[in-house]
Symmetry: C2
Subunit: 173 residues, 2 copies
C-alpha cells in the first residue's frame, strides 16, 4: 500500500481507454469493487511532461508524470474535471545520488533517476470507471507484470483525497 501511495499522491498516474479491463467481482455481479487497468497504454513514454515528483520514506522514488494529448490539453487550458480519454502516466525510478555529478559540483548535492521500478496509470472514463471517481487505475512492475488487486484497491480511496478530480499532480509550466 505504501508503494502504491506514491502514485496516489506525489506522482499521479493513468491508464488506457483501450485497455482490457478486469474485475472478478464486477464481472460476477457488480458490487462496489473498482475496475483496474491490465494493459500498459501504448506509446506512453513519448507523452509530454506534466511534472516531476519525489517521495521519501519507504518509497525513496523519483518520478516523472506524463500525459497523453487529452490530459495535456486539459491541464494547459485548466479545464477540469478531466474529460474522458485523458490518461496520466507516472514513471517511477529509484532516487539515487549521482557520483559523477557530485564530483563535478565538488560536493554531494545531486540526485538523479536510478533504475526504473514501476509505471502507474490513470485513465479517465466517466462511465466505465464510475465506481472509482471516473478513473481507472493501473500499476505495472518493471518486468511488465501488473500490480495485484489488493494494491490497486488502495488507489481510488487515496486519490479521492485530492482537491481536484482525483489527481494530485499539478502541471509545471
Amino acid at each position: 500500500m505504501r508503494r502504491f501511495s506514491l502514485f496516489l499522491v506525489g506522482i499521479t498516474v493513468a491508464g488506457c481507454v483501450f485497455a482490457r479491463i478486469f474485475s472478478a467481482s464486477a464481472q460476477s455481479g457488480g458490487d462496489a469493487s473498482p475496475i483496474f487497468i491490465t494493459k500498459i497504454p501504448a506509446g506512453y513514454r513519448d507523452w509530454k511532461l506534466i511534472s516531476v515528483a519525489h517521495e521519501e520514506a519507504n518509497l525513496n522514488s523519483f518520478g516523472a508524470v506524463l500525459g497523453n494529448d487529452v490530459a495535456i490539453k486539459a491541464y494547459r487550458e485548466e479545464k477540469f474535471p478531466f474529460p474522458d480519454g485523458a490518461i496520466i502516466a507516472a514513471l517511477h525510478y529509484r532516487f539515487v545520488a549521482s557520483d559523477e555529478n557530485n564530483k563535478a559540483f565538488g560536493q554531494p548535492q545531486s540526485f538523479v533517476a536510478g533504475d526504473p521500478t514501476n509505471v502507474q496509470f490513470m485513465v479517465k472514463d466517466s462511465k466505465m470507471y464510475a465506481r472509482t471517481g471516473g478513473w481507472g487505475f493501473g500499476h505495472f512492475n518493471q518486468d511488465g507484470t501488473p500490480g495485484g488487486e489488493a494494491l490497486l484497491k488502495t488507489c481510488s480511496p487515496c486519490h479521492a483525497k485530492a482537491s481536484r478530480d482525483f489527481v494530485f499532480t499539478r502541471y509545471s509550466r
Copy 2:
C-alpha cells in the same frame, strides 16, 4: 556560478540550432570565448522526457530534462557523441514540499515542482560551437531574460567533466 552549475551536472540542457548567436569577443576577432544561445528554442515544452534531477544545497531545485527528436533518437539508440541538431532542455523549478500530498500520505515525505526558476539549453553544432565541445549553451530566467556572459562562461568547463560528450544526464527508460 552555483546556479548554472545545476544545469551543468544534475540537469543537462540545450539550445537551438536556429538560435541567433552572440559573443562580443568572437565577433570582434575570435578568441577562445564561447558562443552562447540567446533565443529560446520554439516548442521545447512539448519535447519528450529524457530524465529528472534534483539538486540540494543552494540550488534546491527540481528539474525535468527534455530532448528534441534528434537528441531522443541518439539517447534511445545509444549513439554518442550526439549528432548535430540535438538539443537538450533542462526545466528548473523550486523543490518544495507538498502539503496536499503529505496530508494524503499521513506523513511528510512528498516533494513536487514549485515555481519555475529558469530553463537551460544545450545545442549540438560541432562547427558553430567547436570552441565549447561542439555544444552551445543557454540560460533563460523565468521572465525570459537570458543569463549573463559571466554565468554562461561557466557551462562549458563544467560540462567538459562529463564522461560522455559534455552531457551528464542519462536517459531514463
